[in-house]
Symmetry: C2
C-alpha cells in the first residue's frame, strides 16, 4: 500500500465526527473548531481576528462586545462561585481589549429543582462583583430545563465596553516587536487548581483560593501609567502557555518565557505535581498577560503592584526575533522547551 493511502486511512481514523471535551478547552481543538466552523460560516472581519472581544464601530464610537458561557463544576469554590466568575470573565475580556467595561447581560439556564437559596447567593455575588467592577447588569433571561437536562446552573454573560481609539490595537497585538517585555500580574494556576480541589469526588482537603477577580481597575491603571502597552490577554482556559502559543502562531516574532521568573504558589505546585498537571496550562481567572515596550516595563509593574490584584507582578519573558511563530520556555535546569497550545482537555468545566 503506498504511503499516501496509509496516510489517508490514518487521517480518516483520527478524524472525529463528534464534539469532544477538548473542543471546549480553549486550546488547539477549540482553536480549530472556531476556525473551521464559526469563522467559515459566520464569515466576517470581526471573527477573523479571533480575539475574545469584537471591536464595533457605531456612529463614530468604538465599542467592544464579547460573550462567555460559564459551566464551572462545582458552582461554589474557594474564592468565588459561578456568578462572580461570570461577571469577572466578561469584564476581563472587555478590559483586555482596551475597553472600559460598561454593561452586561446575564442569561441563566437552570435545572428544575435547583435551590432558590443557592440561586440567590449566586445572583447576590454577581451584583456585588458588578458593583466592584463598575458595570451594570442591564438585561437578562432565564430558562429552566427538566431535571437531569443540565447540571444545576449555567450562566452566560455578554458585555459592552467603550474603547478609546488609541487602544483599539491592543486586543490584536499588531504593534508587538522583538525586545518587548512580557509581564503578568502574579501567580499562575490558582483558579484551575482551586476548582479541581473543590470537586468532592477527589476528596481532597485544600485551601487553594481561586484568583477570580475583575481586572478592569488594574488594567485602567496600567493604561494610564504607560502608552507602551502593545497587547493584553487574560490567561483563562488553556493557561498562560496557550495564550502565548496562540499569540506567536503565524507571527514573525518568537516568544521566550523564563521558568525561573514564574510564580506558582507552593500548594498549587504540589497539587499539580501530585496529579500530573503543568501549571502553565492551568486556567487563571484573575491574571492578565501584558506585552509592553521595554522602556515601559518598570512603570507598568509599579502600576500593577499599586493595585490589590497586582502585588506579585513581574516580567516573565520577552519577544524575540529568533524562532518566529513559536513560544519557548527556558527551564529552570537550563533546557529549552516549546510551548504548544493545549491539546485535548486537561480539566473540563473549569469555567
Amino acid at each position: 500500500m503506498p504511503f499516501t493511502v496509509i496516510t489517508e486511512i490514518l487521517k480518516k481514523m483520527i478524524k472525529n465526527d463528534k464534539v469532544l471535551l477538548g473542543h471546549g478547552s480553549g486550546g488547539k481543538l477549540s482553536h480549530d473548531l472556531v476556525s473551521d466552523l464559526f469563522v467559515k460560516y459566520f464569515n466576517n472581519n470581526y471573527l477573523d481576528k479571533q480575539t475574545d472581544a469584537a471591536i464595533l464601530e457605531l456612529s463614530g464610537n468604538q465599542l467592544s462586545f464579547t460573550t462567555d458561557s460559564f459551566v464551572v463544576d462545582p458552582i461554589f469554590f474557594p474564592g468565588g462561585n459561578i456568578g462572580k466568575l461570570a461577571v469577572c470573565g466578561t469584564v476581563n475580556d472587555l478590559a483586555v481589549s482596551g475597553a472600559t467595561p460598561l454593561y452586561l447581560s446575564a442569561g441563566f439556564i437552570i435545572e428544575e429543582g435547583f435551590s432558590f437559596e443557592d440561586l440567590e447567593t449566586i445572583v447576590r455575588s454577581m451584583a456585588e462583583e458588578a458593583k466592584k467592577a463598575g458595570v451594570v447588569i442591564v438585561t437578562g433571561d432565564t430558562k429552566v430545563v427538566n431535571r437531569g437536562k443540565c447540571d444545576k446552573i449555567f450562566i452566560n454573560t455578554a458585555g459592552i465596553g467603550k474603547i478609546e481609539t488609541q487602544h483599539v490595537h491592543i486586543g490584536e497585538g499588531s504593534r508587538i516587536k522583538p525586545g518587548d517585555k512580557i509581564i503578568i500580574n502574579g501567580s499562575i494556576g490558582d483558579h484551575g487548581m482551586a476548582v479541581l480541589a473543590a470537586r468532592k469526588e477527589l476528596n481532597i482537603q485544600s485551601d487553594i483560593q481561586s484568583d477570580c477577580a475583575s481586572l478592569n481597575g488594574l488594567i485602567q491603571n496600567i493604561l494610564t501609567a504607560s502608552d507602551g502597552i502593545k497587547f493584553m490577554r487574560d490567561a483563562t482556559r488553556g493557561g498562560l502557555a496557550t495564550v502565548l502559543a496562540e499569540l506567536a502562531d503565524k507571527k514573525d516574532f518568537g516568544i521566550t518565557l523564563e521558568e525561573s521568573s514564574l510564580l506558582v504558589r507552593p500548594k498549587v505546585r504540589a497539587f499539580c505535581e501530585l496529579l500530573g498537571f503543568d501549571p502553565l496550562y492551568i486556567a487563571n481567572e484573575g491574571k492578565v498577560v501584558v506585552i509592553v515596550d521595554p522602556d515601559s516595563a518598570e512603570k507598568v509593574i509599579q502600576a500593577m503592584i499599586a493595585n490589590e490584584f497586582g502585588k506579585d507582578a513581574r516580567i516573565i519573558g520577552e519577544i524575540t526575533d529568533g524562532y518566529p511563530g513559536k513560544a519557548w520556555i527556558n527551564t529552570g535546569i537550563g533546557g529549552k522547551r516549546i510551548l504548544d497550545m493545549l491539546a485535548g482537555e486537561q480539566l473540563p468545566r473549569i469555567c
Copy 2:
C-alpha cells in the same frame, strides 16, 4: 386556630424553595422571579422597566441590548432549528424595542459526543438567518460539558441594535391610550405546537410549521409607514395572552381582545384541543403584537401585508378605559373572560 395563622401555614406550604419549570415559562412565575431576585439585586433603572431589551445611552447614541438563551427540545423542528431560533429571537427582541438590530454574539454549550454534522447544520442556519436579517455574528464562545450534563446543545445570543430617539418609548408602551388598536401579523400558536408535535415521545404525525422568523424587516416597514406605533412586543413564551396581561398589569387602561378576530390555523387548533392547550398561551416565534393609534391601524396593516411575514395581519382588539389593569377576551359565544399571565408551565423547553 385563627384564620391568619392558617393563612401563614398555607403560605409556607405553597412557598417553594426550589426552582420550578414554571420559573422559565415566561409567565407569572418568571415575572415573579425577575421581580423578586434579579431586579432586587441587580437594582438599576434598566432592569426596573422589565422590557426584553435595555436601552443604553453611549456618547449620545441610544443602543438597545438584549440576551436570550435557547434550550428548545427537539433541536430540529419543522420550520427551524435551535440555531435559526437563536438568531430570530434576539433579532426580534431588538426590533420590538424600536431598534435596528446590528450585531449578535453567540455562546454555545455543547454536550460531549454531539455530532459535528448537526453542529454544522445549526451553525449554517445561524449564518443564513443572520444574513437574511442583516445582522453580523461578531463574537462567540464554546463550552463543552461531559456527556449527560446538558441536553445536546444550548445556545445563547446577545444582541446590539441602534435605536433612533423617536422610537425609544416603543418598548415601554408609555404612550398607549384608550381607543388604540391591537394588531398582530398573523396566526397564533404555530411555533409551540410545531415543537411539541416534533417530540418523538408523542409519536404524532404533523406538518405544523413553526413561524420562526426575523421580523426586523416587517417592523422597519411599519415604523416607516406610520408614526403612530405606541408599543411592540414579540409574543413568545407565555403566548399572546401573557404579553397582553403583562402589558395591562398596574396600568390605568384595560385591554379587550376579540376572539373571533384571532387566526388559529385548523391543525394548530385541533392539536390544542386534543392536548387541552389554549392557543392564546402558546409560544410564537414570528409574531409581533403592535399597539397603534386608531388612525394608523389601516396603514400599519397594509405595511404588514406587503411583507412576507405579515400576510395575515389583522386588528385583534383595543385599549379600553374600562377594567384598568386587566386584559379581557370577548369569546366567540358572547362571553367575556379574563386573560391572566401564564401560571406554571404549559410546555417546557419550547424555545
